[in-house]
């Protein structure tokens, strides 16, 4: 499958969304709301979930399936309040020594007047710094679209996994094509050049594992993923200095030419 076909697959509204993963991989989930500053952004959902017998903080970017759900969740494009809610929940996870699992699926952080005025850049920057310092294990699973800084804000994790047809990119292929080639219709070429597929991310070291989509959406699929998450969390919990290792993980990306 070519890169742009994967982009289209990643965007399909029928694909499982963060709620589907959270309700199926975990045995219970208590959703918590609000950033304690301004509002509750429904593009990001989060709360406490049970993974086997292990309480974890689960956070996801939710796109919704039906038209009504998609509007409710702003099509999965978070406002600063969403990132601040996630930040609040991650700080609680650190306080109560709960591992953090995020499900990332966004075309990008919301581009709006209010979002800019309430500090979209500052909210993402704070999330990047805070996740880097989390003293508890963190795994990010990219389940659909990994749109630039809006996705990275929830993916500064010890392990980054990607679904087989998930994509992860610095810019949308359409955006890249309209800037570089002055023609959004060349998005397929841009998608190829951006190296945004899960296989590309794996070869660049940006992700550690590609999750097979065989049986996606079935109980067996979620069961398999939950078992892998639980196993990896237990392995990570045994490691010392997680923030130091996490920094090394991200520090290693590209050193330039010397």
């Amino acid at each position: 499958m070519d890169a742009y076909s994967r982009v289209r697959t990643a965007r399909q509204t029928a694909r499982p969304t963060a709620y589907d993963y959270i309700s199926s991989c975990f045995s219970s989930f208590m959703e918590l709301h609000g950033d304690r500053c301004y509002g509750d952004d429904r593009a990001i959902i989060g709360g406490i979930a049970m993974l086997d017998d292990m309480p974890v903080t689960a956070i996801g970017i939710e796109k919704g399936h039906t038209a009504a759900e998609r509007v409710e969740h702003s099509f999965g494009s978070p406002e600063p309040e969403g990132y601040r809610k996630a930040l609040r929940l991650m700080r609680q996870a650190a306080k109560f020594r709960r591992p953090v699992i995020t499900f990332v699926d966004t075309a990008g952080a919301y581009c709006g007047i209010g979002a800019e005025e309430r500090g979209q850049g500052a909210a993402i920057a704070e999330s990047l710094m805070e996740m880097m310092e989390l003293p508890v294990p963190a795994i990010a699973v990219l389940i659909g679209e990994g749109g630039s800084g809006g996705a990275l804000a929830l993916a500064v994790a010890d392990r980054v996994w990607m679904l087989e047809n998930a994509v992860y990119s610095v810019i949308s292929p359409e955006g890249c094509a309209s800037i570089l080639y002055k023609d959004p219709a060349m998005a397929d070429i841009a998608a190829e050049n951006l190296r945004l597929t899960a296989a590309d991310a794996l070869s660049l070291g940006v992700c550690e594992r590609v999750i097979s989509e065989e049986g996606i959406g079935t109980d067996a699929f979620y069961g398999r993923l939950a078992a892998e998450l639980a196993g990896e969390i237990r392995r990570l919990a045994a490691e010392d200095d997680l923030p130091g290792r996490r920094y090394k993980r991200f520090r290693a990306f590209g050193s330039g030419d010397e």
Binding site: S148, G149, S169, F250, D257
Partner: protein, 282 residues
């Protein structure tokens, strides 16, 4: 710091100027894009490349360092790090070669140490002439190394940002620089060391959403465009007219995201005062 009021009414120059930096050399006449007065370049140069209306022209990274650092105190670090083409992105090699030729730099940021009024600091200045100050792996590496060096040497960091954001041509690896630089800033901060970010026109995208907004103290030049999403994209997405001064330094000050707007003529003094105020007394 006293609030500085400025007659200049900002507008979004990132849009107006099509994302390209103006080269500032030669002895020709120059027209201020704000008030449209045309003067000999020497007039603007003598005022630190500002117009009497308050407009601040874009500066090259080395011009900026020369205005801020004590004479002869700047020691460049990591100057050997330059961009490469890790994804073999079509056209990037030529574009980067052109950027090197136009700017005379190997990457979009210059890093080093300097003194301001005798007080030592680590210093970085981004270069708009190098692919609009975009952040690729080499830029991220230089920033991360500077913060690590400063953390190891107990130095404060002063950084001038100007950037279109993460560099598309290095794809995901550019995106990862946001996390890498944020981690380096955080580790420097944990040592109890000061980081002053000075946002200049324009500071956008992945740089805004990482080290630009992570300063203990965030200053900006008057009229600078500062934002995450591009104004054009916001206008297209929302189909609403943008408010006056949208994404201007003045608007960010009003919304609580920067500490102060400092005109260029007062920048060196402001930085010197802040460094002095952060000397440890207990």
């Amino acid at each position: 710091m006293r609030e500085i009021r400025f007659p200049y009414q900002p507008h979004n120059r990132l849009e107006a100027e099509g994302r390209t930096a103006e080269p500032l050399h030669g002895e020709a006449e120059k027209t201020c894009p704000n008030c449209h007065v045309t003067m000999k370049e020497g007039f603007f140069r003598s005022r630190g490349w500002t117009c009497s209306c308050g407009y601040h022209f874009r500066l090259g990274a080395r011009q900026r360092i020369a205005m801020i650092a004590d004479k002869g105190s700047f020691q460049e670090l990591f100057e050997g790090i330059g961009c490469r083409d890790p994804l073999a992105f079509p056209g990037y090699g030529e574009k980067a070669a052109k950027a090197r030729a136009v700017s005379g730099e190997r990457e979009s940021v210059i890093t080093g140490t300097a003194c301001i009024d005798g007080m030592p600091c680590a210093l970085f200045a981004m270069e708009a002439g190098f692919m609009m100050g975009s952040m690729g792996t080499a830029c991220g590496e230089k920033i991360a190394r500077l913060f690590e060096y400063a953390a190891g040497s107990g130095l404060p960091v002063i950084g001038f940002t100007v950037s279109g954001g993460a560099r598309m041509q290095e794809g995901l690896l550019s995106l990862m620089q946001m996390a890498k630089t944020s981690g380096a800033v955080r580790r420097h901060s944990r040592q109890g060391l000061l980081y002053i970010a000075v946002l200049t026109d324009p500071t956008t995208g992945g740089v805004t959403a990482s080290f630009a907004m992570e300063g203990d103290i965030i200053l900006a030049e008057p009229g600078a465009t500062i934002g995450f999403a591009g104004a054009r994209v916001v206008a297209q997405t929302t189909r609403q007219p943008l408010p006056k001064g949208f994404q201007s330094a003045e608007s960010l000050l009003e919304h609580g995201f920067i500490d102060a707007i400092v005109p260029r003529a007062m920048m060196r003094k402001a930085l010197s005062s802040l460094l002095a105020m952060h000397r440890r007394v207990i």
